[in-house]
Amino acid sequence: MSLHLIRQIDHWQAATQRLSDFQGLASASTWEQLERYTDTFLRARLGASVRRLQQEADHLMQLARQEGAREEDILRDLQQLRRRYLATEVTLDYFGDAINTRTNPSLGRHLAALDKLAGAAIERALRPLGHLVPPVMTYIDKGLGASILKAGLRLWDQRGVNPVAVIKVVRHNIYRPTALIHEAGHQIAYALNWNAELAEVLRRELSSESPVIGNLWAGWSSEIAADAFAFAYTGYGAVATLHDVLSGGPNLVFQYRPGAVHPMPYLRTLLGIEMCRLAFGSGPWDDLERNWIASNPLHQLEGEIIPWLKLNRLMVPKVAAIVLQRPMRAFGGSSLQQYLPIQEVHPRNLLQWGSRLGPPNAWPVSDLRNNSLRLLALSVYKQVTESYQSPAFRREMDHWFSRLTDWPSLHHSQPQTAPALLGEY
């Protein structure tokens, strides 16, 4: 066997050995910040992938050293080993990079709290219907919008499915993580197969207007479904936060690409507002709508898109009604608003609930855990409606996030001047 081949096999075999050291991906302290459940699943999956690769490398070396081995076969297997190595490395690096965003302890705690919130949202939707609840891991990155690598999807290493739902959250929205719940909604909709069902209903119901309209909204069903879950769990806060993300000027607001899974932002925001109206009646979303329409006048668009947009705008109430009120197989024959307690996030109910229970930093940890989603809804609602008090609300969120994950509070923002008048508030 050619020395050069042996050398290469040896090189890749050594490389696969090093992959098993997960400390090389992320430090021990950052691994510790994951939920044990998540840590276990992840290590098991990644470990299995690396072991498989190592076995392949060992086997190739064995083959190469055998008498009578054909060089072209060994070369072909070497190429395959290289490809598999790189794919495995991509997989490991993806998770390693995600875990490494927890290097900063306070950020790590924040992300750990987000893990719990997303996990709570998924569990609440899946467990009553008998579905398995995957672990969740969040990480932070740059950008405008969040994303998810769903549990159950095939990973790059082709060794099996992703065991952990991995959700990217973006820095600018770290205190308003309703997008986290939107992404968790993707996981839920995938598990319940709601995307396909919703698409079918939308296509059927809206095709009476025109088949094109029906297909259009059907194509947006997965994002509509995720938005619906974000709304169901966090109410108006999700709608206002989404509005802020999508307010990027006319190029973004009226962006439309045929076949894209995201609805046109103009319509998507109006749909969120309509869900608020349908579920809650009147509220701050009325003003949001006025402002949205006034800030994005149709007359600035080119002629032919305007009637198309107006027609689709007329579909919005119908779509909202389908999403919230239509019984679905995915929810065991209930509608979404029957299946999830949407009225709990009605602003009036949220505020009254919050008033009765007092500041969350005084709650027992068990209460925090059992009510974390609702508390998130309240916190984001307050931030988006009373924005001048946002710093206080963010400090409050820091407190209960820390307690949610059983770590001591790291409130660094005490003023250095005369004693803070708010004290423990």
Partner: protein, 856 residues
């Protein structure tokens, strides 16, 4: 009344309503002898003042000149005077507006049918919203007490007190500017209270915790702060159009002063009615609670606790202050009324005959009267309710049943909602029509509470009154197209629309937004709240000075029960310049009197006539009162304005007094020191003008700029009913505004001794005013010459504007005013005693100059 006031209606089914006087069944037989005084005419007052008796009139103890009072009483009064802080009242009003805003934005449009539960929910939510402020207030007092505890409080100096307070002056970061402002004012009040109690200790007055007076007063402030926030929350939620109980009538029992003469509610009611003889304005309740009186109550209770004999006594006073029982009773009454209103509206929509509606009308009237606390002691109350209900049901018979109600609904849409660009469904239009009818009934009920005994006792007079009111109110509540021509308020088709459409109705808006051209001539002489000229406002706010011509849209509003100007501003989101509950927004809403309506709009009928007391400030408005807001559209081409360039706003820095935002004048009469102080507050612009004259050595010219302010202030104070600019410090434990006393004194004097003496009194007071104005002007000129550098320095200080205090010390003229008080005791006073009174020589006043705003 022999003709219907409704026009353009289907008259095909004539059910004989033309001659109303003889159609309805009267609950009274015409031969029934009229029992004298069957109706007690306290109703209007009952609505406004607390019913607890006895009414304690401290003035009655001013029995003779020169009589001295105990040092404890003097100290109490002076302490009360010192802790008074005008801006604290404003901060209370701002907090109430913030509470309204919070409710409007988060919960108000989401009410259920259970009003009590909604109210409880609102209270919980608001209490939680105010929690950071409550905690910060308490923490502030804790920090101060802790710092004071380290010092010897018996020898505490004012400088030491200042030093400690300054440590916490700027540490008020709460994220909410309204909260921060309140906390700043609370800090000021605490500082005044601390200095006040230090003076008390120095005088040797015996108080509880003499050795630790700071702990005493600050500890009490701490306990009261949360209670005050709770009161504000409850007043906002209850929305009852009642004045809070005048704290001056719940006075310090500890002074042991017994009233020699107690003016009971009957006499006071008669005085109020007499007031109306000379003022044809309708007697209607206030639109919402008078919040400024909360400061008076707060001060009084704080003073009482400070001077309490024991801790237990102080605790009792605190407990009484925090007692919520009355608020809860008011809330229940309000809930019953709202429920009755909803049932009436529903009945009006579904009934096919007047008989079906009648019981709901009766229930509505009965609960409305309970809410207004009318007729608690009225014997024939039930008969009045029955009478009004029966008559009203007959009057609206034409509107009952879909066939008749539909035209009203349609016209409300076409002449009302559509003109305001409001889309309503058919059901909403039907409801709006029923609401209009209910609103007429509500307003008729209010009017009834202001009727005299004579009218209430006489069936025919009462019927005439109600029918007349009905006609007038139909014109105000129904679309003009549905009203007889001679009753219409305007030629153009329009309607008064109840708003907002979602949630509870809070005000009315005229559906026509009128456009007019505005120039200096058009606004000449037009006054707004507090006697300020509209022109001054236009110059300050819109830089319209010199000659100008602008086009404006005039938005017209009317108050109903629960209206506040800040809420109108908050809800008018589509009107440029409004849409916020901030003071800078709602301070642009002005009163629309018939005179103003005639001058601005060419139609006096669009204005509402109100007594002068409802024009003194924006926080005290009356049901039925009208207002306008000017939305600038454009300035006419060809007439370039000569704008007055405003001074750039200076940042408010710690240690810099708050600024003067408008020219104003106040008077304080301190009988404990026989001193009268005239405070002249001037804006930066005016201060700059005066400075310019001083630098040019034109001292007389500088003094003359104040002539109008001084004269207006004294006229308003001593002759008219604008008591807000007056403060009276009596020997007795009471701070009163002259509107409560001098006005009635003059009338009481007139009642007792006849009209000539009344006129004599007025002449005597006018002479004093003339002399005071001349003297003040001359003294000002001399002082400005002498203190020219001080004035210039004060004007260049970081604060905005200036305040001048002209202090008349040992003023013998005070005796004349004290003489007027004697009349209230009921002592006969001959005409000669009054008109022959020599106007004594008035001493030259001292002048004190302060940068920024300096209250009295």
């Amino acid at each position: 009344m022999d003709q219907s006031m409704y026009s353009n209606w289907d008259t095909s089914t004539d059910n004989g309503h033309d001659d109303l006087l003889h159609q309805h069944e009267s609950p009274f037989s015409l031969n029934t002898p009229v029992v004298e005084n069957e109706f007690v005419t306290a109703p209007a007052i009952d609505a406004y003042i607390e019913r607890e008796s006895p009414f304690f009139n401290p003035l009655t103890t001013a029995t003779a000149e020169g009589e001295s009072f105990g040092p404890q009483e003097q100290a109490f009064v002076q302490f009360l005077d010192e802790i008074q802080e005008d801006e604290f009242s404003e901060a209370i009003v701002d907090l109430a507006n913030e509470a309204e805003r919070y409710l409007a934005e988060h919960v108000s449009s989401q009410h259920t049918s259970n009003q009590l539960r909604d109210a409880q929910m609102e209270e919980e939510v608001l209490t939680n919203h105010f929690q950071p402020l409550a905690v910060a207030s308490e923490n502030l007092m804790d920090h101060l007490m802790r710092d004071f505890a380290k010092l010897d409080q018996e020898t505490l100096t004012e400088g030491q007190i200042d030093d400690i307070f300054e440590r916490y002056e700027s540490n008020h970061s709460l994220g909410n500017p309204v909260f921060e402002e309140f906390l700043k004012k609370l800090w000021k009040k605490a500082k005044k209270a601390a200095k006040g109690v230090a003076k008390v200790v120095k005088k040797g007055i015996n108080i509880v915790k003499k050795l630790n007076p700071m702990n005493l007063v600050l500890g009490r402030l701490k306990k009261m702060a949360r209670g005050l926030l709770g009161k504000i929350v409850r007043k906002v939620i209850n929305r009852l159009p009642q004045m809070l109980r005048n704290p001056a009538r719940m006075l310090a029992r500890k002074l042991g002063i017994s009233a020699e003469l107690e003016l009971n509610e009957m006499e006071e009611a008669e005085l109020m009615v007499e007031d109306q003889e000379f003022d044809l304005s309708p007697v209607l309740p206030p639109a919402s609670a008078d919040l400024e009186i909360l400061e008076q109550e707060f001060n009084l209770r704080l003073a009482e606790q400070t001077f309490a004999n024991t801790e237990e006594e102080a605790d009792q006073i605190l407990a009484a202050y925090n007692d919520t029982r009355q608020d809860l009773q008011d809330r229940e009454a309000e809930a019953r009324f709202e429920h009755a209103r909803e049932r009436l509206i529903e009945a009006l929509q579904t009934a096919q005959s007047p008989e079906e509606v009648r019981p709901h009308v009766e229930e509505f009237v009965g609960t409305a009267l309970m809410v207004l606390r009318w007729g608690i002691r009225i014997i024939g109350r039930k008969r009045v309710i029955n009478f009004i209900s029966g008559l009203f049901t007959k009057l609206i018979a034409r509107l009952i049943g879909k066939k008749y109600a539909a035209p009203l609904a349609r016209t409300l849409v076409s002449k009302g909602f559509s003109l305001l660009n409001l889309e309503v469904s058919e059901h909403e239009a039907d409801t709006a029509a029923a609401e209009s009818i209910a609103q007429v009934l509500e307003e008729i009920t209010y009017h009834t509470t202001g009727l005299s005994a004579e009218v209430l006792n006489d069936q025919e007079l009462l019927e005439q009154e109600i029918v007349e009111q009905f006609s007038a109110l139909v014109a105000q509540n129904f679309p003009s197209d549905m009203v007889q021509e001679e009753l219409r308020e305007s030629e153009v088709g329009a309607a008064w629309v109840l708003l907002p459409r979602r949630g509870r109705r809070r005000y009315k808006k005229y559906s026509r937004v009128l456009e007019v051209n505005l120039d200096r001539a058009k606004v000449r002489g037009i006054k707004t709240f507090g006697g300020q000229y509209l022109q001054s406002f236009l110059r300050r706010r819109h830089q319209l000075g010199g000659s100008y011509k602008v086009r404006v849209k005039v938005h017209i509003y009317q108050a109903i029960r629960g209206t506040t100007l800040s809420h109108i501003s908050l809800l008018e989101r589509n009107v440029r310049g409004l849409g916020s509950s901030r003071r800078s927004a709602w301070s642009q809403i002005h009163p629309l009197t018939p005179q103003v309506a005639g001058q601005l709009l060419g139609n006096p009928r669009l204005g509402s006539r109100v007594a002068a007391r409802w024009l003194s400030n924006r926080n005290r408005i009356q049901v039925g009162q009208r207002f306008y807001y000017l939305e600038l559209v454009s300035q006419a081409a060809g007439t370039p304005p000569a704008p007055v360039r405003p001074q750039p706003p200076r940042p408010v820095l710690p240690g810099i007094p708050s600024g003067v935002t408008k020219d104003d004048a106040y008077v304080k009469l301190d009988f404990t020191r026989s001193t009268m102080t005239l405070a002249l507050m001037m804006t930066e612009a005016k201060a700059a003008e005066v400075t310019r004259r001083i630098k040019a050595n034109d001292y007389l010219g500088a003094a003359t700029t104040f002539r109008t302010s001084i004269r207006d202030a004294l006229n308003n104070i001593l002759l008219k009913d604008i008591g807000r600019h007056v403060k009276v410090v009596m020997e007795l434990s009471e701070d009163q505004y002259l509107e409560d006393f001098l006005g009635k004194l003059l009338k009481a004097g007139g009642r007792i001794v006849g009209g000539a003496a009344k006129e004599g009194l007025k002449m005597a007071v006018k002479k004093i005013i003339q002399r005071l104005v001349k003297l003040a002007e001359k003294a000002l000129a001399n002082h400005l010459r002498r203190l020219r550098n001080d004035f210039i320095r004060a004007q260049e200080n970081g604060a905005q504007g200036l305040t001048l205090h002209l202090v008349f010390v040992d003023m013998p003229g005070m005796a004349l005013i004290r003489t007027l008080f004697k009349l209230k005791q009921g002592r006969p006073v001959s005409v000669g005693d009054v008109t022959g009174t020599v106007i004594p020589a008035i001493p030259t006043p001292d002048l004190r100059i302060f940068p920024g705003r300096k209250s009295l």
